[in-house]
C-alpha cells in the first residue's frame, strides 16, 4: 500500500513530505498560486530570488517563447530582503510547506549579509544560493562559473547562517562537476540544478534582439536532456543531496531526474503550461510507487546508475 510517507524524502537536514518543489522565480511568493490550490500539498516552495536592496529588474520585453521552451530576462525583480521579511515571510511561514529562500548577491559581502539577516528569521527550511542567474550583468552568474568564486560565495553563506545551504548551479560552464565539487568542499549541504541556459532570440523584421536585456535564460522541456545529464554527472561526483530541475512537466520527467540522482525535483516553467502540474506530478509519482508496494521514492534516487 502506498502511503504519504512513501513519498517523503530528505534533502540533508530538511525533510520534505514529497519530493516536488516549485522553482524560484516561477512561483513568486506563492500569493498567486495560493488562489488555485493548497500550497501545503507541495514538498516545498523555493521563493523568488531575493537581493539585499530592492531591484526593478530588466527592461521589457522579458519573455520569448521558443520551441518547447521559454527565454526570460526578468533580472531578479524583487522587493529586497527587508520588505520580503516584513510583507511576505509571515504569510509564507503559515503555508504548511517547507520554505526555501533563494538569495542573490552582487558581492561576497552581500551574500553574507543576506544569509545573516535571514538566519534570524524562523520558519525557513533552507537558503538556496543563486550563483547562476544569467540575467544580471554584475554578480549573478559570474560567481557560478568559476570554482574559486563559487566556493567563496558558498563559504561566506555557510559562515553567516546555521540554516542549510543549498547552492544553485549554472549550466553555463564547461565542467559542472568541477563547480559542484568546489561548492561541496566549501560547505554546501545540497545542490540544486540547473538554472537556465543562456540564450537569445532576434526579430528578423526589427533586425534587433527580442529581449530588452539581449540575453535571457532558456527553460522548459527544451533543456531537460541537458539538465538530466548534469544531475547524472554531479550525482556520480558528490555525496550531498541534489534537487533536480529543468523542463519537468510530468511525473515521468520527475522520475528521470530522481533516477539520475535527484533527491527532490522542482517544477518551474511547467507551471505556465498547467498551474496544477506540481500536483499532477505528485499524483503520478504516487501511482508509480503503488505498483511496487515495497518501494519508496527514496529507493529510486540514483536507481538508473546501478548496472543491471
Amino acid at each position: 500500500m502506498t502511503t504519504a510517507s512513501s513519498l517523503e524524502t530528505r534533502v540533508g537536514r530538511v525533510t520534505l513530505k514529497n519530493p516536488v518543489l516549485v522553482a524560484s522565480g516561477t512561483f513568486g511568493f506563492a500569493r498567486e498560486y495560493e488562489r488555485l490550490f493548497p500550497i501545503s500539498a507541495l514538498g516545498g516552495v523555493m521563493v523568488t530570488g531575493i537581493t539585499l536592496e530592492p531591484r526593478a529588474g530588466n527592461p521589457p520585453p522579458r519573455l520569448m517563447e521558443t520551441p518547447a521552451g521559454l527565454l526570460n530576462s526578468i533580472g531578479l525583480e524583487n522587493p529586497g530582503v527587508h520588505k520580503f521579511i516584513e510583507e511576505e515571510l509571515p504569510r509564507l511561514r503559515d503555508l504548511g510547506t517547507e520554505i526555501i529562500v533563494n538569495i542573490s548577491g552582487f558581492s561576497l559581502d552581500e551574500y553574507g549579509r543576506l544569509a545573516e539577516i535571514l538566519d534570524k528569521e524562523t520558519g525557513l527550511a533552507a537558503l538556496e544560493v543563486n550563483i547562476s542567474c544569467p540575467n544580471v550583468k554584475k554578480g549573478g552568474m559570474t560567481f557560478g562559473v568559476h570554482p574559486e568564486s563559487a566556493a567563496a560565495v558558498t563559504r561566506m553563506v555557510r559562515q553567516s547562517t546555521s540554516l542549510p545551504v543549498w547552492v544553485k548551479l549554472s549550466p553555463n560552464v564547461t565542467d559542472i562537476v568541477e563547480i559542484a565539487q568546489a561548492v561541496v568542499d566549501a560547505g554546501a549541504d545540497a545542490l540544486t540544478l540547473i538554472n537556465t541556459l543562456s540564450g537569445m532570440a532576434i526579430d528578423p523584421e526589427k533586425r534587433r534582439p527580442v529581449l530588452g536585456n539581449v540575453f535571457g535564460g532558456l527553460s522548459g522541456p527544451a533543456v531537460k536532456p541537458v539538465a538530466l545529464r548534469m544531475v547524472w554527472q554531479v550525482y556520480q561526483a558528490v555525496t550531498v543531496p541534489l534537487v533536480g530541475m529543468g523542463g519537468i512537466i510530468n511525473y515521468r520527467d520527475a522520475l528521470e531526474f530522481i533516477m539520475a540522482g535527484a533527491t527532490a525535483v522542482a517544477i518551474g516553467t511547467g507551471l505556465f503550461l498547467d498551474p496544477f502540474s506540481p500536483l499532477k506530478v505528485i499524483e503520478g509519482l504516487q501511482g508509480f510507487l503503488a505498483k511496487n508496494p515495497e518501494e519508496t521514492i527514496r529507493d529510486l534516487i540514483g536507481a538508473a546508475h546501478c548496472s543491471p
Partner: protein, 268 residues
C-alpha cells in the same frame, strides 16, 4: 480565477481573409466572474504537446453569466492562435481566468469616448453590454461614442452589435476602405471635440495607438483608462515576465493591468 475546461460551441472566421475568428465557449465559472477588460489564458496545443508551450492571453469579448458562456475574438498571429482557429464545435479547451484588473466602473461618467484598435475592440464591449443590465447606458443617461480603427474595412467586425447597444460608431481604416482614412486619433481630431463634450475615455489596441490616444486625450484634458496587450507566461502575477514601464516603475500587465489609468504607462 480558476482553471476551467471550456466547450467550443462555435468557431467562425470573420470577414474575408482577415485572420479574425469569433469563438463561443461554455465556461460557466469564468462567465460568472468576468468583468469588462478582463482576459483569459487559453492553452493552444494538443494535450500531450509541449509546443507551443505557453497559454495565450485573449480578451473576453462578451460574457453571459446566465447562459454560462463567453465569447472571444482573436486573430491568427502564430502557431498558438493557428491551432485555436482549427478547433471544432464539441472540442474542449483549457482556460485560466478571468484574469487581470479590468476597467473601472463608468457609473459617474456621462459621455464616454471609446478607442478600439484591431483585436483591442473586444476588450471594450463589456463596458456597454453587461449581462442583466441591458439598456443600462440609457438608464444612467450615458452616451458612448466608439472610434474603431483597423487596417481595412473587412477587419471592422460586429459594428451592428455596437450600434444595437446604442453606441455611436465612427470607423477609421489605414487604407481608407471605410470611415476615416487614417488612425483613430486622426478621426478623433477630425471630430473637433469641444471642451466638456466627453468626460472619460477607454482605449484598447496596439501600443502605438494607445500612445497616440493618451497624448491626444491629455491635450484635451479628458481622463481615461488604457487596456494593454502583452505576451505572458504565468498570467497571474507570479513570474514578472509581462511588465510594462509606468511612472511608478515596472508594473505587471497581467495583474496590475491590463487596464491602467491614463498617464501611468510610459510608451517610449
Amino acid at each position: 480565477m480558476q482553471v476551467e475546461t471550456a466547450g467550443v460551441i462555435s468557431l467562425s472566421p470573420l470577414g474575408e481573409a482577415t485572420g479574425l475568428y469569433h469563438l463561443v465557449l461554455t465556461a460557466p465559472q469564468i462567465a460568472k466572474e468576468s468583468g469588462p477588460g478582463q482576459f483569459v489564458m487559453v492553452r493552444c496545443a494538443d494535450e500531450q504537446s509541449l509546443d507551443p508551450l505557453l497559454l495565450r492571453p485573449l480578451n473576453i469579448f462578451r460574457y453571459h453569466p446566465a447562459a454560462g458562456r463567453i465569447e472571444i475574438i482573436f486573430r491568427v498571429v502564430g502557431r498558438g492562435t493557428d491551432w485555436l482557429a482549427r478547433r471544432r464545435p464539441g472540442d474542449s479547451l483549457s482556460l485560466l481566468g478571468p484574469l487581470g484588473r479590468g476597467f473601472s466602473s463608468l457609473e459617474k461618467y456621462h459621455r464616454i469616448l471609446l478607442f478600439a484598435g484591431g483585436t483591442g475592440m473586444p476588450a471594450l464591449f463589456g463596458l456597454v453590454e453587461q449581462e442583466g443590465k441591458v439598456g443600462s447606458s440609457t438608464e444612467h443617461n450615458q452616451e458612448f461614442v466608439l472610434l474603431y480603427g483597423a487596417r481595412t474595412k473587412e477587419e471592422l467586425v460586429f459594428l451592428d452589435l455596437w450600434q444595437a447597444a446604442g453606441v455611436k460608431v465612427l470607423t477609421a481604416t489605414d487604407d481608407g476602405s471605410a470611415g476615416f482614412h487614417g488612425t483613430v486619433t486622426g478621426a478623433a481630431e477630425a471630430m473637433r471635440i469641444s471642451p466638456g463634450e466627453f468626460d472619460f475615455y477607454c482605449a484598447c489596441g496596439p501600443r502605438p495607438m494607445l500612445q497616440a490616444v493618451q497624448e491626444l486625450m491629455a491635450k484635451y484634458g479628458i481622463p481615461g483608462e488604457l487596456c494593454l496587450e502583452e505576451a505572458m507566461a504565468c498570467g497571474i502575477g507570479a513570474c514578472m515576465g509581462c511588465v510594462c514601464e509606468t511612472v511608478h516603475g515596472y508594473r505587471r500587465v497581467c495583474t496590475d493591468g491590463p487596464v491602467f489609468p491614463a498617464g501611468e504607462v510610459k510608451f517610449s
